[in-house]
Symmetry: C2
DNA sequence: ATCGTCAGATTGTCGGACAATCAGTCAACG
DNA sequence: CGTTGACTGATTGTCCGACAATCTGACGAT
């Protein structure tokens, strides 16, 4: 069903794109990076003026960037008290994991009816994760790949909005993970578990894969909670 | 598990609250209202200065409010071209309905394991919807109650984040519905269908309810699409 | 028909300003 | 001794004015 080209030829410039990076975006990106890499501890207040002249931008610009972080759940704003890095409490962890479980498990259940493209995305995400594990990559690399794999499960829905939601959930989770970065989680012996999951999927046993994933998420939740809230 | 009160008595002020309404919030709320009530057609550009001195506030305040609307999917921002009311295209409708289906159906499937509180919320939502139908309430009233009912399905997850997500999805949908408000959808002969669904749930046949809901959403999608994109 | 160029409008960003609110201190008071 | 009230400094919420960069549309030149 080709769209009727308005006379003349179709333009051959379909493959071009240009990323418009506004100052606000760059500020927000820098703040995200600082949070995810643990430079900014949870609960740290993000002072507008301090950030502004630290980055050489106007306060209004910083304000707008902070609004973005708040919308993404990376930071929280208290009226007249400013915004600070979100400090994950136990309920938040539970809720995020539960929400993720809904999105990811439902995605996995769609495995059979998903597009081959989406399925292939899962496979490559797993490959890259496994490669990072084998190469004993940095903790942050592992995290990144691991979460990307989970995101690819949601991608099986082929719904941009569901993926966007999963992304903000994962962003919130990354704030928590950044806190236990130093504690050096023992995690990431999980590569095998994920491989098993994919085998189940390719073998057609979707239900087993779904329950597997659910168990994995439940495990992850208690692991994170213990690392965070059983502090010395 | 009562929290250990730090000596002395527990404060008897638990039931107090105070809603801090910033100017930004009020501006955003006014804009939402205008969009949902059809005063602002889809695609209408939201000029910062015009809104600013129309409401008697500063431009920066309006900018921040617009940022909120964009984050909620009610409006879209194009770089250097400002923000305008989101104009739903067919893909967006499909995607929103698909995402809703995932959240709502998964919620309904949790009926048995949900808290009695959440289940009761569904029942009262249905009652209020039915009452509105019986009273031949205004089109907007019906819409409001109908969507509240669907939101209560998501509430069965008892996950604040999933509910928040469903709310933004519904907000996006309301923009579309505002467009066909004038066209006076025939809809809302659906009260019976929902009552049937609840009977299935209370009877324990969760699966039947889930497939019912799925069918209902699919119907709604084509209805909306036809009303929107088969213009005279 | 395509390409410069120009004027007008609008956004993106800046800088400064001020009242309102908040956290902390500390003295006064019952 | 615990509560209250007043003071100070810091920070946010909001406003105002300004300017460069960018988009839109028209107009004329090639």
């Amino acid at each position: 069903m080709a769209a009727p080209e308005s006379a003349s030829v179709a333009t051959p410039y379909g493959g071009l794109s240009l990323t418009h990076s506004s100052t606000v975006d760059r500020v927000a990106e820098e703040l995200r990076r600082a949070v995810f890499e643990g430079e900014l501890e949870a609960g740290t207040p993000l002072r507008e003026v301090a950030i502004a002249d630290s980055l050489g931008v106007a306060r209004s610009t910083v304000r707008e960037a902070l609004g973005l972080l708040v919308a993404e759940g990376i930071a929280v704003r208290e009226p007249n008290r400013g915004v600070s890095v979100a400090s994950p409490d136990p309920e938040a962890i539970t809720d995020v994991v539960r929400a993720r479980a809904v999105l990811e498990v439902a995605g996995v259940r769609r495995w059979a009816s998903a597009s081959e493209e989406a399925r292939e995305a899962v496979r490559t995400a797993l490959r890259e994760y496994a490669a990072a594990v084998a190469a004993e990559a940095s903790y942050q690399q592992l995290n990144e790949r691991h979460l990307a794999l989970h995101l690819s499960f949601v991608g099986l829905h082929e719904s941009p909005r569901l993926v966007a939601m999963a992304e903000t959930l994962i962003a919130e989770l990354k704030v928590a993970l950044a806190q236990i970065d130093r504690i050096r989680r023992n995690a990431h012996d999980q590569a095998g578990s994920h491989t098993h999951l994919l085998e189940l999927l390719d073998g057609g046993d979707v239900e087993a894969a779904a329950t597997d994933l659910e168990a994995h998420l439940a495990d992850a939740e208690v692991a994170i909670r213990e690392a965070l809230f059983r502090a010395p």
